[in-house]
C-alpha cells in the first residue's frame, strides 16, 4: 500500500470502533443506559460494517 492511498477498510473500522467506544463511554459515565438489547445490534453492526467495507474495497481493487 502506498502512503498516499486511502484504505477504506481501516477508515470504516476506525470510525465504527470509535463510535462504539463513545457509546460505551457514555454508558459508563451514566449519560445513557445501554443494556444488552441495545449493545447487541451495535456490536453486530460494527462487525458488519467492517466486513462490508473490506469486501467492497477488495472488489474495487480487483476492478
Amino acid at each position: 500500500m502506498t502512503a498516499d492511498r486511502l484504505d477504506i477498510t481501516s477508515l470504516v473500522a476506525g470510525v465504527v470502533v470509535i463510535a462504539l467506544g463513545a457509546l460505551l463511554l457514555l454508558d459508563r459515565v451514566g449519560a445513557v443506559d445501554i443494556g444488552f438489547g441495545a449493545l447487541a445490534p451495535a456490536l453486530v453492526g460494527t462487525v458488519g460494517a467492517i466486513l462490508l467495507a473490506s469486501g467492497l474495497s477488495r472488489g474495487a481493487e480487483q476492478r
Binding site: 445490534p41 453492526g45 458488519g48 460494517a49 462490508l52 469486501g55 467492497l56 472488489g59 474495487a60
Partner: protein, 392 residues
Amino acid sequence: MILRAAFVAAAAAGGAGIVLYALAWALVPAAGAEERARPVRRAADWRVAAGVALLALSGLLGLRELGVWFTDALVWPVVLATAGGALIWRQSAASGRGRTVAPHESSSAEAREDRRGRLPQLALGGTGAVPALRGRALGRTFTGVALVIAAGLAFLFLNGALGAVRDVVLGAIAVAVVLAVILAPWWWRLLSRLSEERAERIRSQERAEVAAHLHDSVLQTLALVQRRSHDPREVAGLARRQERELRTWLSGRPPARPSERVAAALEATAAEVEEAHRITVETVLVGDAPLDERGETVVAAAREALVNAAKFAGRDAPVSLYAELGDERMQVFVRDRGPGFDLSAVPADRRGVRDSIVGRMERRGGRAVIHAGETGSTGTEVELLFERRNGR
C-alpha cells in the same frame, strides 16, 4: 416499482421492509443489466454478503429494541424466507444468463471466470460447466432452499401449528425405516452386482484396447516382415521401429511430442535417419528439455552428424546417439566406428561439418567438438554442448 412500493409500506408498518430490501439488493442481481451487474458480482464476495447480512441483523435487532416490530413469529421467518428466496432467484438469473452463452464459448468463458476467482455465470447442469463452479452453484441453490424450508418450519413452530405436521413426519420416518430394513438385502446385492459388472466392463474394455493396439502395430509389422523377408536390412528396420513403439507403449509414457521436447525430437530424428539411410542408430537419452531455439539447434546439428555417420561410416557399422538433457545443460554425442577423418583436410567448399554442425552451434552460443582420426582410435565422435551461463 410495485416491489419498491411494497417495501416502503413494509418499512412504514414495522421497519422490516428496510432490512428485506437491503438483503435483496445485496443478493439479487439487477435484471438485464449485465455490464452494471459485473462489477457488483466481482465485489460481492463473502465479505460483502456477510457484512450486509450482519448490518441487516443489526437493523432488525435495533428495531426490535425500539419496539418498531410486528412479532418474532412473523419477522424472523420472513427474513429467512427472503434470504433464501433471494439466493434461489440469483441462481436462477445466473442460469438464464448461462444459457445465452454459445456452446463453443461457454467452457472457456467459465474457465476464465474460474481462473480469476470470481463468481461464475453458471447454468445449473450446463454442459460445459467446470465441476467446482457447478458445485458452488448447487451449494447456493441448496442453501436457498434450506433457508426457505427453515423459514416455513420456523413460522409453523412459532405459531404452534407444527404439532400436526410433526405427527405426519414421524409416521413418514417410521415407514421409511421399515422399508429400508426390509429392502436393505436386495439393495445391497444390487449394488454389489453393479460393482462387479462395472469391473468386468472395465476389464473387457482393457482387453479390447490391448487387442486393437496389437493388431494395429505388432500384427501389421509381422505381416510386413513376412512380405519383405528377402531384405534383412528392411526387416531389421521394421523390427527396430516396432520395438521402439512397443517399449514406449509398455512404459506408459505420454505420447512423444517432437515439436515440444528435445528428447522426442532427437528420437524422431534418429528414427528418420535410420529409415532414410537403412542404418541402425542406438539411441540413449537421459533427461529432457523444452524445444527452444537451443534445442532446435542441437537437434539439427545432431541430425547432420547422424547423416554424416550414415554416409561415411558404412551401413554395417552401428551409430550411437547419446544425450544428457536438462534445462541448464544439454550434451549430445554422435559416435560411429567408421574410418574417421581429419577436419583440417576437408576442402573449404565442403560445408557440412563446418557450417551445419560447428557453425550452427557457435552461432547459438554452444560448442561442437569433432574427435576423429585420433591416434589409437577408430571412428568419429561429434560432441555437441550447450551450457547455460549467468542466466543466459
